[in-house]
């Protein structure tokens, strides 16, 4: 469970960490759009170079990025197989038995894979450098305009931040209960199906009772501190755009503009 890299926050200090979460969110959207627009490898190269600089400045190692790709491996393989079976354009490259693989099949797949890898790296950059609570503040700010149509942006943000806040707690709880049951001889990895079901049950039941207990306690604690859903609240932590934030958004916007323009000249 600790091997999950995708979406994990790395609590260190770096220029990327210090950026405003709203700036990073806007930058993320601009960059992802920039990854999906172009038809040329040159644009990918430019994005990849900029991304490498950003990752290096955020002190994210190559190992972590490679690990975040792992969950996508199966999907990429699947993509390759489907494309090889269906795409029949371009030059025939080679044949396996009677079946011919065409140039476009491989090329298109590689293109999509590079897009995916860039997208994952961009998202990892955001989640690794942004504290989940700051991230929800940023999301709340982005959802603000929807309040005109009575969208409860604050409540949604509060729910998301509570959910995010409790992920590590629940993981910790899960590991503790798993360890406790392992000490009582439960084997979570091997065994017959019936044994596996019993093993999972010995984890799920205590986990649920702990989760409910925590929910009640949290609700009491929030009420005791005067939390009323829908009431207007001020913030202790006020987000402020700095010059570097504007610069970051500007660079991301520039990349998107370059990427759109590239469709006509590259």
């Amino acid at each position: 469970m600790n091997n999950l890299v995708f979406g994990k926050y790395i609590p260190i200090d770096s220029p990327m960490h210090r950026l405003d979460p709203r700036a990073k969110l806007i930058g993320l959207f601009l960059m992802i759009a920039a990854v999906f627009v172009p038809k040329s490898w040159w644009v990918f190269l430019v994005i990849a170079i900029l991304l490498t600089i950003a990752l290096a400045s955020a002190k994210i190692g190559i190992r972590m990025i490679v690990q975040s790709f792992k969950p996508m491996l199966m999907m990429m393989l699947f993509l390759l197989i489907i494309n090889s079976l269906t795409v029949k354009t371009g030059e025939p490259l080679f044949a396996i038995g009677t079946f011919t693989i065409y140039h476009d099949a491989i090329f298109n797949t590689l293109f999509v894979i590079v897009r995916l890898l860039l997208m994952i790296s961009i998202t990892t950059l955001l989640t690794a450098t942004t504290n989940p609570l700051d991230l929800t503040l940023g999301i709340e700010w982005l959802l603000k305009p929807l309040e005109v149509i009575h969208f409860p942006s604050h409540e949604v943000a509060m729910m998301v931040s509570i959910a995010l806040r409790f992920i590590p707690t629940i993981i910790e709880e899960t590991i503790r209960i798993m360890n406790a049951q392992k000490s009582r001889g439960v084997d979570f990895e091997n065994g017959k199906l019936s044994q596996k079901i019993a093993a999972i049950l010995s984890l799920i039941v205590p986990l649920f009772s702990v989760a409910f207990e925590r929910a009640y306690e949290l609700a009491d604690a929030m009420e005791a501190r005067g939390y009323v859903p829908g009431a207007k609240r001020t913030r202790y932590h006020v987000l402020k755009f700095k010059f570097t934030d504007y610069l970051f958004i500007f660079i991301c916007g520039l990349v998107l503009a370059f990427s759109i323009a590239s469709r006509s000249f590259l």
């Binding site: 600790n2 790395i10 609590p11 260190i12 002190k59 190692g61 190992r63 972590m64 709880e173 503790r176 209960i177 360890n179 406790a180 049951q181 392992k182 000490s183 009582r184 001889g185 439960v186 084997d187 049950l201 010995s202 039941v205 205590p206 009772s209 702990v210």
Partner: protein, 283 residues
């Protein structure tokens, strides 16, 4: 020696930018049939040390011998089940591990996992519950309906029922009222004295450690600072200062008595033995 750590180290998040060496070159021999306390500040590595005893964590460097099992860094382990049967680990807030429909079934869960036949497992469960003072009328009640102290005793019974040779308790009295704590303390003393189990207790409660544990290990920043007699540690002002430990009340009381002219031998450590010696002197 039933337990022997040999230059053992453990690193959390190995290879990540925030890797953290939780145990650093630990060399430690724990004696058989003795109550050993492990104390140290939060984050000193106590729980990490304890989780090695059940092979829940495996060492990154060095090795660990427990009974007849030998765990070496980098080697695959094959004897997890028998090891976990012989070393019973009671976790912090162990009441959260209860899940079966009835108290008796929950306690029998461990023995069943270790391959005991159902009839025999229920018998072992009933015996373990008797040992922790849970009345027979509770056997068919859901464990979730019990009080906090009862739940914890049931959880401990779940470990005792597996008949381990070594019992490890991580903060067994945390969050319990004084009465509940006393019951747990009496329980592990009787396990040690009557059933001759080797007991290891992780604790923050210096009073309890001083009063009931034979030996004490002081951990700090993943290293062992002290291992030896509990009395020698707590009656030595310099050591207490060095390890930033509070003096137990009885030791303060003992020192005051000695400063005011009473002669006390090293045997007079607890309230009972101190009053007895003074009584003899005053006759």
């Amino acid at each position: 020696m039933p337990i022997s750590f040999k230059s053992l180290s453990y690193i959390y998040n190995k290879g990540m930018p925030y890797a953290h060496k939780a145990l650093d070159d630990i060399n430690l021999d724990i004696k058989e049939g003795v109550i050993t306390a492990i104390i140290g500040e939060t984050g000193s590595g106590k729980s990490t040390l304890v989780e090695h005893l059940n092979a829940l964590l495996l060492p990154d460097e060095g090795s660990l011998e427990i009974l007849d099992y030998n765990i070496v860094a980098g080697q695959k382990q094959k004897f997890l089940k028998p090891l976990r049967k012989d070393v019973g680990l009671v976790f912090q807030f162990s009441e959260y591990q209860l899940f079966e429909e009835t108290v008796l079934k929950d306690v029998a869960f461990g023995p069943l996992n270790f391959g005991v036949f159902p009839d025999e497992a229920l018998k072992m469960a009933a015996e373990a519950l008797k040992l922790v003072n849970i009345d027979e009328s509770y056997f068919d009640v859901s464990p979730l309906e019990l009080s906090g102290g009862q739940k914890r005793r049931v959880a401990i019974a779940g470990i005792i029922a597996c008949d381990p040779k070594i019992i490890v308790l991580d903060e067994p009295t945390a969050g319990l009222d004084p009465h509940g704590s006393k019951e747990i303390i009496d329980l592990f003393i009787s396990l040690n004295k009557r059933l001759h189990k080797t007991i290891i207790i992780v604790s923050h409660d210096n009073e309890m450690v001083y009063n009931y544990c034979d030996e004490t290990v002081v951990l700090s920043h993943g290293k062992i600072r002290y291992h030896g007699s509990t009395f020698e540690l707590f009656s030595n002002k310099e050591l207490l200062k060095e390890y930033n430990l509070l003096e137990p009340q009885i030791v303060t009381f003992r020192n005051l008595l000695q400063d005011n002219g009473f002669k006390l031998s090293d045997e007079a450590r607890t309230l009972d033995s101190i009053t007895e010696e003074i009584g003899r002197q005053l006759k």
